[in-house]
Symmetry: C3
Subunit: 359 residues, 3 copies
């Protein structure tokens, strides 16, 4: 049994990564190849020729078909072989598996598991990622560690104080208690930490221009297994959201992560920071891109180390958990449930109507 | 059970590699050390001292004896210990295994398995490799992949069109059907592809000077497990071999490979290109050496990738084979038979009388 | 069962390595963190936070306490957690294991096993290492090989002739028979080789200034498992120790090794050369430091190779041992006995009264 749920949608790539040519990427231990047809449709196929296993991602794309780089077996977008060397008859079994994909919110999602079930599952939303009301910086980092370590990391933001001190961490993050809620049906974990009089970390001081103390709210929404949303509200101390009308005295940052297992011991860390202020301001964009990349790399280095620690761990080692871990433990429990089910569809809409994936 | 046949002759080295000093090389998972005595005889011994396993290949050669570089145990060419530190009595068991070797056609062959059987087996021939009628370029590349991948590769030359396009591949190679024959007694597989009106690839255009379309014959002779011969005939379109008399209107290239397992996951790829034209022409020699090395490296890169794919493969993965694979499948079947037998001597003479290996 | 004895004192570090800050080091497969308190006491704790396993050695030391670099769990020198994020109550189980340490003869020793037994075991001595009567050069090299290979190496000095020829080896070392004694109670193996008319190797010629032939005595004392002493006496040929009075016509070198397993396949090689002549002579010090480092690296390279050989070894491989191996075989036997006992305290005083380790 793999350590991730099957029959789930996972973020395979940013849409912008699949334009020209072939993209090879392993998702949940499945080597896949992606490309975009001349009509703009994204195709996801198993990344090995049926003949002698050569990776199709290292092959040739021509007229929306992949020609294997080893012996020339040729596949159409459904994965069917349409040409083979030195013979006219194509064996009926000559077909590579095709995977349901769906583009949404600047992501290419792929369905891992039984493709007949793909239509039944809702894909969680992050509409700010391609909205004109937000400016977004983003990146993707490989982690040499299991995806659960990144889930743990993001569910317990008290680590910001210690691992990201001087960037996004201040003493209040670790000191302020959290509240946790779980939507067992939608498989969503909510963790909130509201700091009503906090130091403003450089990350937000430099991007918002706020000088003094702030209200800082962190509202986490984890749509197991793949999409993590941190709704971050920053406002000068004392500025609360109005009873009605827009919350335009506050700054909103949608920190978004795609947490996609690559293998049992490696993870794709898709990270995005969307803001509703200083729209299009290149200097702020550059500042947030550079500094968030630094913060992401602090996590990557720590998680790579933890993977080695866990791998070298003696059997029956016991962790100790405390209040701050309530959200992380809930996430683990839901993942465990989804893995056991192997088929439980995940996720409800985050901020917009869900759309079923189409094959 | 190893994945190669025991009780077989394998190419260990080119004769020219064993002149002065000690050569350490692993053949079929056996770490061996080779050297040439002052009388010109090649010696092959197990590459570890009986005392504390130190590699003899990292030791000292003096007066046709190896003195271990760790504690000075000294071995003669039969592998017998003739001196030990701080005592006069040499323990009777102090002897490293010696392996039958035989020099022929510019190769040093070594016998892996029961040395009593070495005399009974014929070593296949490639006499052009040290004939004055041919000029030869050659090299040796390590492959980080099992030897069976190289056998597959060479038995199905339709890959030339895709992996070696622009060098030795043209569309006709993949398009032209093959004929296959198997000599079950001699354990030789023959695969022929005769293209009677084909494009001339740069490799041959630049070395023969032929401008237009060509007759191109590829006659493969695989002497399982180790020696692969590709008799290549290139002639201007329409020029067939005469009924009698020499075929001197055609160009002949003897592409020769030694396929020697190093370990379960690595292979020695000995490659040679012998031609019967432009003899001694340095420019042609340089051109063929450079370009064939490029072609070999295209294979090496592909096979290294395939090894990773096969290693990461899920159980019960099924390949799909078609007509072009007839030769490769026959080779696999013969190897399987030889492995099971573990003792079936291999190989009949290719172009000259066979000579039994001598110890 | 590990391949080293538990319930033993092992050399973890030189005292000089633990001054400011945190030192992470794995000893016998236990990741440990060391630091020195403001009062000068050395502390040894398990190197992972009880919460999410983050290495404490990558964390922060403040006021003699370690603050975890991930979420801020804080530990005092006993390993007790004294602060946790976002809550006042510290879980009772929040404690990292603490390991008995003892400073002596310029070493920090650590006790691996049942800490209640630490007081019962004597720690062997090497008092010259912080004596004003000696000048010492020293270093530490990682070996990518099991510690037993270093024990083998040091117990059989006949290898000096072959592996260290031109440095410390001369023909007489390999030629001269040894005498071996074993103290079964104290778990000490003694090996002596007295060469009364020997070539003076450059190592000693250049440091002592002796020009001609020498008396060279090597008296080995191996206190299993960790401390190896080579009492080396060099004197001009014919100069024997006086019946009474100091042996001041001879040069004495105390070659000392700490042999500490890091993991099953790696070892900390602590090496020291203490001399009772040319005290404080920088040129001699520099010469001995450089040349002994060269000699140590010759061993390291050889042992790294042997580890690969042993790892790749076929089952049931048999070594062959001869007279020179008597000491090494005795050492192996004692180590095997100590491993089986799992609790047998080791070591008697080498040259001074033993001191029990204190926690």
């Amino acid at each position: 049994m793999p350590s991730w749920p099957l029959n789930q949608w996972y973020i395979a790539a940013y849409s912008s990564e699949i334009e020209e040519g072939l993209l090879g990427r392993t998702i949940c231990d499945e080597p896949l190849v992606f490309y975009r047809t001349s009509e703009g449709e994204v195709v996801g196929l198993a990344d090995r020729c049926v003949h002698r296993r050569y990776p199709l991602s290292l092959s040739h794309l021509k007229d929306d078909q992949i020609i294997c780089g080893y012996h020339g077996f040729t596949y159409d977008k459904s994965g069917s072989c349409v040409a083979a060397p030195a013979q006219k008859r194509i064996p009926r079994a000559a077909r590579v598996p095709s995977f349901p994909v769906h583009e949404q919110d600047s992501f290419v999602w792929v369905w891992i598991g039984d493709s007949d079930l793909a239509d039944t599952a809702l894909i969680p939303r992050a509409p700010w990622l391609d909205s004109p009301d937000y400016t977004v910086v983003r990146g993707r980092e490989p982690i040499q560690g299991r995806y659960g370590l990144l889930v743990d990391n993001l569910m317990d933001l008290s680590h910001e104080t210690y691992l990201h001190g001087g960037y996004i961490g201040t003493p209040e993050v670790a000191e302020t208690p959290i509240t946790t809620e779980v939507d067992e049906e939608a498989n969503v974990v909510y963790v909130s930490r509201h700091m009503d009089d906090a130091e403003c970390p450089p990350f937000y001081a430099n991007s918002t221009g706020i000088g003094g103390r702030i209200i800082r709210w962190q509202d986490v929404e984890y749509h197991a297994p793949c999409l993590y949303l941190l709704h971050s509200r920053i406002a000068p101390a004392g500025v609360l959201p109005p009873e009605d009308g827009p919350d335009d005295k506050a700054f909103h940052v949608e920190v978004t992560y795609g947490i996609t297992p690559e293998t049992e011991h490696s993870t794709h860390d898709f990270w995005m920071v969307a803001r509703d202020f200083a729209l299009g301001d290149e200097k702020v964009t550059e500042y947030l891109a550079t500094n968030n990349h630094t913060v992401v790399m602090q996590d990557v280095v720590a998680l790579n180390i933890l993977e080695e620690v866990v791998e070298g761990e003696k059997e029956n080692y016991q962790e100790l958990s405390i209040n701050i871990d309530t959200g992380g433990l809930a996430a683990r429990r839901i993942l465990k449930k989804l893995i056991a089910a192997g088929e439980a569809p995940s996720a409800a809409p985050a901020a917009a109507p869900a759309v079923a994936g189409t094959v």
